[in-house]
């Protein structure tokens, strides 16, 4: 047997080019479906992790998927806004802390995430440089946003109007960058974070302008009658909030009526979670409460259906490749007829010649299986890291 294997090894080594092609084909046939499965599983786990770290999300009634994608991944179209009072209602219930989210506007193509200071604690986000925002109009950039824009602490970004033709709409707000987050390998890397009140300023619900009682604003004043001052649109409205003019900024009306796209709710236990979910079951309720893990689970089921089609395709391609490999072996047997006749003439039995031919195939197959297993192992260990490194390039 040892001699047979030696002869097989020498044959494969001599025809190394043909052996290499066969080995590569068999390795890839085995690796592709298995490796794909491993990568999909890893992606699913990562998606699920973020969803599972977000126990409950409250938003306006509508598509739960849109709500979750907007709140967790800042990707979807912004869902129908709801009143900030909903966040206050959950907070005042004492059942769970809340984190308001208003993900609607963009700056230079990146989503502006209006939220509260708690968001950074909740997602365990750390600063790479600078500090977290403290004043209205300050922003903190995700790591990839900062890299893409080449931005540093002290620079600024300007919000983009939703509609260029809405001349009476929101003013672009120039926001000072006070901090840059460290990489978290999450959607937070691709977002610009501001206080939710800053998004309300972008929307025009809060604004800062010259004091109409001061002399500098006289040219904008149309009439002044006792305590009533009427000004025209030429009054200087600030499009950048600085420590000097921040006191001039103010909000009109009741903050409770201001919009948010969602409220992340963080119940400390199952009982609080159940109580909160129960409060949103009424048909008259204008808000919905979603469990992101369930919403993403349903989405992943759909993805797995697609994945099974991809796997089926890979298996068919694999079978075709295996058939080709078998053909290569059979053709090589025909080409090696004279070689086999020589082996018979020098005393080789039919069984030993057959074993020699078979062992060549077995060696190639076993080597292919070992290589595919090795690649799958490497994928399971370093696949996620590799994907992240590629993304950061």
């Amino acid at each position: 047997m040892k001699q047979t294997l030696y002869l097989a090894w020498r044959y494969l080594a001599f025809h190394r080019f043909k052996t290499l092609i066969l080995l590569t084909s068999i390795t890839l046939i085995l690796y592709l479906p298995v490796g794909l499965r491993v990568l999909v599983n890893q992606s699913s786990e990562q998606l699920t992790q973020r969803a599972e770290a977000t126990p409950l999300v409250v938003g306006s009634k509508g598509s739960p998927l849109e709500l979750v994608l907007n709140t967790l991944y800042f990707r979807s179209d912004f869902p129908e806004p709801m009143r900030y009072a909903e966040a206050q209602k959950v907070q005042s219930s004492g059942l769970a802390p809340t984190v308001p989210m208003y993900v609607r506007y963009h700056a230079q193509g990146y989503p502006i995430v209006g939220t509260s200071f708690e968001y950074f604690d909740y997602r365990s986000l750390r600063l790479q440089s600078g500090r977290f925002f403290t004043l209205l109009g300050e922003c903190v950039l995700g790591a990839r946003v900062a890299e893409a824009l080449g931005a540093q602490v002290g620079d600024s970004v300007t919000s983009s109007p939703e509609n260029l033709f809405d001349l009476a709409g929101e003013y672009p707000l120039n926001m000072g960058i006070v901090g840059i987050l460290a990489h978290s390998d999450s959607p937070d890397d691709d977002a610009i974070f501001v206080d939710v009140k800053t998004t309300w300023v972008i929307e025009g619900l809060g604004h800062g302008h010259q004091d109409l009682t001061q002399r500098e604003a006289a040219s904008a004043v149309l009439s002044r009658e006792e305590n009533r001052v009427v000004a025209n649109a030429s009054i200087v409205q600030y499009n950048k909030i600085t420590p000097e003019n921040v006191d001039e900024f103010h909000f009109h009306g009741d903050i409770s009526d201001y919009p948010v796209t969602a409220v992340v709710v963080l119940p400390p236990d199952q009982k609080s979670s159940a109580l909160l979910q129960g409060r949103y079951q009424s048909a008259e309720e204008r808000a919905q409460i979603s469990r992101p893990s369930e919403v993403m689970g349903e989405l992943l089921e759909t993805i797995l259906t697609v994945e099974s089609f991809v796997l089926a395709g890979a298996v068919i391609v694999g079978l075709a490749t295996l058939a080709s490999a078998a053909l290569v072996f059979m053709l090589s047997l025909r080409l090696r007829r004279r070689e086999m006749e020589t082996l018979f003439k020098i005393g080789g039995s039919r069984a030993s010649v057959g074993a020699l031919m078979a062992s060549e195939m077995v060696v190639v197959l076993v080597a292919g299986i070992v290589l595919a297993a090795g690649l799958t192992f490497l994928t399971s260990q370093f696949g996620a890291v590799l994907v992240r490194a590629l993304i950061r390039m």
Partner: protein, 303 residues
């Protein structure tokens, strides 16, 4: 197929492991940190919280109503376990800074329907949003001792919620504070109801809640204790006196001699009723309120 593009993007963007929520304040800490926006709230919190609470109020001397904290002070507020707000539009800087919403406690929300609107606030309009005004709510709520007790009750409740293991201590601290505040209230009420009929005028519009509590009419001018009023100010006072016969002006601090002499010439005596919105140079909130009560006693017992 739109969601497929989402998936590609999402799986790329979600490489990191997500942490578990850790937003709830740790309840195992021996004391917890409380920040306030004025001195009365600090005093109430210290009386109620006792040794279980570290209360900070980082504003410098002066009127905290016009104070805006710098970034360092805001960071300190952000790190607190609880932030006690006065409500009633007090501390306008709160609206323009980032504070953790789950830690904010509006201590006057239970009596928001009793806020007093300032009648002479400037109303203005520009653009499509229509007529509006800024800072139209009177905010010195704590000079009405009955409202001060309700501030204190809100503080007690927030402490109990944050540190339920010390509930009995918080209730005891509140009960003692309530007794002291009620005593001040009774003393002032007794002085006013048992005293002579006196017309009061405020040196500044900060006495609205005091006036309402005791059924008084205290219109005001805009006089500063350390500055001699300009002619317009005196004109406003004369105009006010045409409809309101006042014999005493109550001040936030002792007025300069020239001002009090001029008032005296007009038949108006001066007395100090400190709102005590910042730390007093001597004593504490309660002792200042007791001094205020003594001043009211003196005013209404004078012939």
């Amino acid at each position: 197929m739109r969601w497929l593009s989402f998936i590609a993007a999402l799986s790329i963007g979600c490489g990191g492991s997500e942490p578990s929520p850790d937003i709830a304040p740790a309840s195992s800490a021996p004391t917890f940190s409380v920040y306030t926006v004025n001195y009365p709230l600090q005093y109430f919190a210290e009386r109620i919280g006792g040794e279980h609470v570290t209360v900070s109020f980082p504003a410098p001397a002066g009127d905290p109503a016009s104070w805006s904290p710098d970034a360092e002070a805001i960071s300190a507020y952000q790190q607190a376990d609880l932030i006690l707000l006065n409500g009633a539009s007090y501390a306008k800087w709160v609206a323009t800074v980032t504070l953790p919403t789950s830690k904010l406690v509006d201590t006057s929300s239970s009596f928001a329907d009793r806020y007093i609107m300032v009648e002479d606030a400037v109303v203005h309009s520009h653009g499509p949003e229509g007529e509006h005004s800024h800072g139209e709510t009177a905010f010195t709520t704590w000079i009405d001792a009955t409202l001060a007790i309700r501030h204190a009750a809100a503080i007690r409740d927030s402490f109990v919620s944050a540190r339920p293991e010390h509930e009995s201590d918080f209730h005891q601290g509140f009960a003692e504070l309530e007794r002291d505040l009620a005593a001040v209230d009774e003393r002032i009420e007794a002085a006013i109801t048992g005293g002579s009929d006196v017309g009061l005028v405020g040196s500044n519009p900060v006495y609205q809640y005091f006036a309402r509590r005791y059924g008084l009419s205290v219109p005001s001018v805009h006089f500063e204790p350390d500055t001699y009023p300009e002619a317009d100010g005196w004109h406003d006072l004369e105009h006010l006196l045409e409809d309101h016969a006042a014999t005493w002006m109550i001040w936030e601090d002792q007025p300069i001699v020239q001002t009090s002499d001029k008032l005296s010439d007009m038949g108006i005596q001066s007395a100090v009723f400190e709102p005590c919105s910042n730390r007093p140079d001597f004593g504490d909130y309660l002792s200042v309120m007791e001094t205020n009560a003594a001043a009211i006693d003196r005013i209404f017992s004078a012939q």
